[in-house]
């Protein structure tokens, strides 16, 4: 059996403190319910600078400049112990907010984003210097609107403002007079997802020297609904993002599954490639503006920076087996079934233990597990705990129950088969996929045999079911064999044997007069 491979992976972050203040739902809800609250007054003082975000160790891990394991020995709190980081990463980059506003304009096909002439002229050379977007695309920044007009639209609630250090520099207009699905707020959220998705796809193409014309299909896995009042959530962000990056031969679609979306998307992509429907499928997602500052109330209470100021993005290219890149074992997929049950034990049994057991593997045969990889420095102060650690403890407990490890080694399990969380709390972004880039490198360097990527989704948030969801797959070292050819030639040999046997039988029958 031959398997599809993970050919390339890219990761980006966008520093977005002003978007946090204007669009983070914790903040917008507070503004609605308690407009004079102390939290709202002091929050701006807890926002960090772009340099602080770049020099934050978990962010350097996310873009590939540090290994996740390096966080183990690194002094905590990580925010108080900056590294000497770089905006440019092995897997992608960290973009500042002003450039991102320019990118919103570049990816906007309906002239819904307006930038002031002063601001646009400042950021155009900065974006140009990054060499990611064409002169034709950058020309979008030449079309501007006077700040006084932007101020009027924002004051009349016809548009949502784009701010930098409290100053208005642009806006995003509503795309319809009455349709709330095309309100300025919803259009803004969707454009953030599209722009960060385009940024990560552009990085994937550039960092790995991929010809965008070779990409056949794009699967987008964020959590935004793209549509209007007659088809809310109709899509299709995938194709919209591919258009920005000149993937002219691609079509695509959006896969949704809350935080499990990326893992589902990768399995869809692998199935397409394995079936021979498409040769090169990119699975990707941009990030979420709504989740920015989600736990900032607790961060402020604890007198620590509001660290949820990063919009995330990832892109993974799934291709035909090249004999070199790590494979995805399409025959070992774990799934949380409708009947699986929602207890933590039932979830881990269904998505981790069952697929391994069915394929003769032990939990300890997996070198590293990538469950949800939220940075604990963001979640622990808010009372949400260390999510990856909780997952490792549960997987380890399952290994103890199955007699694969001794109970006394349970705490060592997390260190041996896990990594510290390093991803921003961006819903679908931390769900297993942030480790794929590191896993691919480790396997190619011969330091790892196989890893399990786990996606989990909170389906109950949509109020259509109280079910949980989870799905997992295994990335493994490529055997280097052209298995398909071998398999095909074996099948051919068997067919010839059967033909010869049939012919001999006919001769024998005829000689015997039967």
């Amino acid at each position: 059996m031959t398997y599809p491979v993970i050919k390339a992976a890219a990761y980006v972050l966008v520093h977005a403190p002003n978007i946090l203040l204007e669009h983070g739902t914790t903040i917008t809800t507070e503004r609605l319910l308690n407009p004079d609250s102390e939290y709202l007054k002091v929050l701006p003082k807890y926002l960090r600078s772009f340099d602080d975000a770049v020099n934050y160790a978990p962010n350097q891990v996310y873009i590939g400049n540090m290994k996740p394991e390096e966080l183990r020995g690194y002094p905590t709190p990580w925010y108080a112990n900056p590294v000497s980081g770089s905006r440019d990463g092995k897997y992608g980059e960290i973009m500042p907010e002003d450039e991102f506003y320019g990118l919103l304009r570049i990816v906007d096909r309906f002239e819904l984003v307006e930038l002031s002439p002063e601001f646009a002229s400042q950021i155009k050379p900065k974006i140009e210097a990054r060499n990611l977007f064409s002169a034709k695309q950058l020309a979008a920044l030449d079309k501007t609107l006077d700040l006084s007009e932007i101020e009027k639209m924002v004051a009349n609630n016809e548009a949502d403002g784009l701010y930098l250090d409290g100053k208005l520099v642009g806006c995003v207009r509503a795309a319809h007079e009455t349709d709330e699905n095309l309100s300025a707020h919803v259009v803004f959220e969707n454009l953030v997802s599209k722009a960060s998705g385009a940024l990560v796809l552009a990085n994937l193409i550039k960092k790995h020297g991929i010809n965008p014309l070779d990409i056949d299909y794009i699967i987008e896995t964020s959590e935004e609904a793209i549509g209007d009042m007659n088809q809310r959530g109709g899509g299709n962000l995938a194709k919209a993002i591919g258009e920005v990056c000149d993937c002219l031969n691609a079509t695509g679609s959006d896969v949704r599954g809350f935080c499990a979306g990326p893992a589902h998307g990768i399995i869809h992509a692998c199935a397409m490639v394995k079936a021979g429907v498409f040769k090169n499928v990119v699975v990707l997602a941009g990030g979420s503006s709504a989740k920015l500052g989600m736990n900032s109330r607790d961060h402020v209470k604890k007198d620590m920076p509001a660290l949820e100021d990063m919009v995330g993005g990832y892109a993974i290219l799934i291709s035909e087996n090249d004999g070199v890149s790590p494979v995805v074992r399409t025959d070992i997929v774990g799934k949380h079934k409708i009947a699986s049950g929602s207890s933590p034990q039932a979830v881990i049994q269904a998505i981790v233990a069952d697929p391994l057991e069915e394929n003769g593997l032990k939990i300890t045969d997996i070198d590293v597990f990538a469950p949800e990889l939220q940075n604990p420095e963001l979640t622990v102060p808010a009372g949400a705990g260390d999510v990856p650690m909780a997952n490792y403890k549960m997987i380890g407990a399952m290994a103890v129950k199955k007699g694969e490890i001794d109970k006394k080694d349970l705490m060592m399990f997390a260190e041996k088969h896990g990594v510290p969380g390093f991803a921003p709390t961006q819903g679908h972004i931390p769900s297993g996929v942030p480790l794929v880039g590191h896993v691919v490198d480790e396997i190619k360097e011969g330091k790892m045999q196989r890893a399990m990527i786990i996606g989990k989704g909170s389906l109950f948030l949509g109020r259509m079911t109280d079910l949980f969801d989870g799905i997992s797959f295994i990335i493994e070292k490529n055997s280097g064999k052209t298995e398909e050819i071998k398999e095909d030639s074996e099948a051919l040999k068997q067919e010839i044997r059967e033909l010869i046997a049939g012919a001999i039988k006919e001769v024998a029958d005829s000689l015997a007069g039967r």
């Binding site: 949800e372 979640t379 949400a384 931390p430 909170s458």
Partner: protein, 45 residues
């Protein structure tokens, strides 16, 4: 805690998606008694 504590009580359950989800808590509570009037699971990540 004494099981009788829950007798004739109305119970609201708030589960955590990364801890113990609401339906799992509800399944336990159903064996103890009391009336479950609301079950929800929240997400903080």
């Amino acid at each position: 805690m004494d099981k009788s504590f829950f007798e004739n009580k109305k119970i609201c359950i708030l589960g955590d998606r990364d801890g113990i989800p609401g339906p799992a808590i509800a399944a336990c509570m159903e064996t103890i008694g009391g009336e479950i009037i609301f079950t929800s699971t929240e997400c903080f990540v």
